[in-house]
Amino acid sequence: MPDPFEYLLASTFAAGAAAIVVVACGGTAAAASAARTRMALLAALAVGFAVGGFWLRLPVSLPPTNALGRLACIVLPLASGIEVAAGCWTVARRYVWCLRLALALASGRVLLHASVYVSADKPAWSAWQAAIVVLLSGALLALVWSLLVSLSRRSGGVSLLLALAETTLGGGLAVMLAGYLAGGEAALPVAGALVGCGVASGMRRFSSGWFDGALGLGVVALFGVLFIGHFFGRLSGGRALAIFLTPLLCWATELPIFARQPAWRAAALRLSLVAFPLIVVLVLAKHDFDRDTLPLLAGMRIDS
């Protein structure tokens, strides 16, 4: 049974662990270098996810046997590796984006591996169907990833980290309400770690261009949770899509009417804009949960 207190503890531990790593390794704004801060943020996300995931006892095994395992053991480490390469070495930006695009296009296929959709023995999809799903989902991931990174470079990243945390939390809850508890739970440490990174970065006043890696890793995690929730759980495609696109509402603060807002007000606006569609999606998901699953748990008769 889901335990909200356990979820709160796991998210808090993830946030705390991530914040400690950022503070310990990131240095101060004056002394920190871009590469060091990027590495610290990536390490903070990884540590936060590991701490929260361990607390929640996420069902992830090595070698991974299910989509959640492949997300945690293959896709996220690959995303981290790409961002480490992008942050550490002077790799030309176009090569970094080639790697990010390759990961975006490969992620869907990795998550679907050996499932009924693409199995060698009587797959549910034709090769064309599988290619279209993988390419479209990969293109969507690359689009959201690139738009968030460019927004971060343009006008600050702390509020983006917090908005992404908000969306990841909403996505996790939606997946849980659709009946896949472990899949949704995986989002909680990610959301907690993003909050920890965001708060610690805000306190350290890191430069806006240093959040690419953390944002990228967060977007890939959000994508993975929603992808698994839709294709392996029962999260509807419309809701998964709505949640995934929600962080792009942060671009609204770039409109001319909001151009001269103080930074704190722009951040509050971003968080509010992101919260609104998430609340709508979660209310609908809760309605469906109360209609479909609650009577099952309570042992009541369902009249069809």
């Binding site: 069902p59 989509a67 472990a182 392996f232």
Partner: protein, 194 residues
């Protein structure tokens, strides 16, 4: 001379082939009859009562060699998404990744690795049981083995039951509680000779 040697070789090869076919046919091969077979299960609910269910779709085949039972073999495959607990919502819930994860693991499979005859016409069948992506060795005691001829087809039937722990098969341990860890599976099957 060359012709007689060739004929001798052809005759010897034909004889070996005949013997091999004869040996292969010593075992009767049967196809799983889904109409007259049943795979059901029960598991504890809150540790106070039992929930019953069944899998409506399964397939398999087996061969029985009465002269040398060790040459017999059994294999079957159950379609997970045919689970039926008389409650559609619960069935859909059971297919989710927290339970059977039917999109990732669509079948439950058994393939024998050794067969021994037991008194009374049954067999003790040891084999690989794969569920939820985990394979464990289990031993089934097949009772029955009675044969009947119906509409020109020889049939044979067996019954067996086994007890499994879901936690042994990689099910999420946190989801064990509402529904108990142990599941009892009852398999009654009939085969029609091919």
């Amino acid at each position: 001379m060359r012709r007689s040697v060739t004929m001798s070789i052809v005759t010897a090869l034909a004889g070996m082939l005949f013997c091999a076919v004869g040996a292969a046919r010593a075992a009767d091969e049967y196809a799983f009859d889904p109409v007259h077979s049943s795979i059901s299960f029960k598991a504890r609910h809150l540790d106070i009562s039992w929930i019953h269910g069944r899998f409506n779709e399964a397939d398999g085949k087996f061969a029985i060699d009465k002269k040398d039972p060790s040459k017999s073999w059994f294999q079957f495959s159950i379609k997970v998404d045919s689970v039926d607990t008389a409650n559609k919502t619960r069935d859909e819930h059971l297919l989710q990744p927290d339970y059977f994860d039917s999109k990732q693991f669509p079948t439950i499979d058994f393939k024998s690795t050794s067969v021994k005859a037991v008194k009374g016409g049954g067999y003790e069948v040891t084999g690989d049981f794969t569920m939820h992506g985990e394979t464990k060795q289990v031993t089934l005691t097949l009772d029955g083995g009675k044969e009947a001829e119906f509409m020109g087809t020889k049939r044979v039937g067996f019954s067996t039951q086994l007890s499994l722990k879901r936690s042994d098969f990689g099910f999420d341990k946190k989801q064990i509680g509402l529904i108990g860890d142990e599941a009892l599976i009852y398999i009654d099957f009939e085969g029609a000779r091919k």
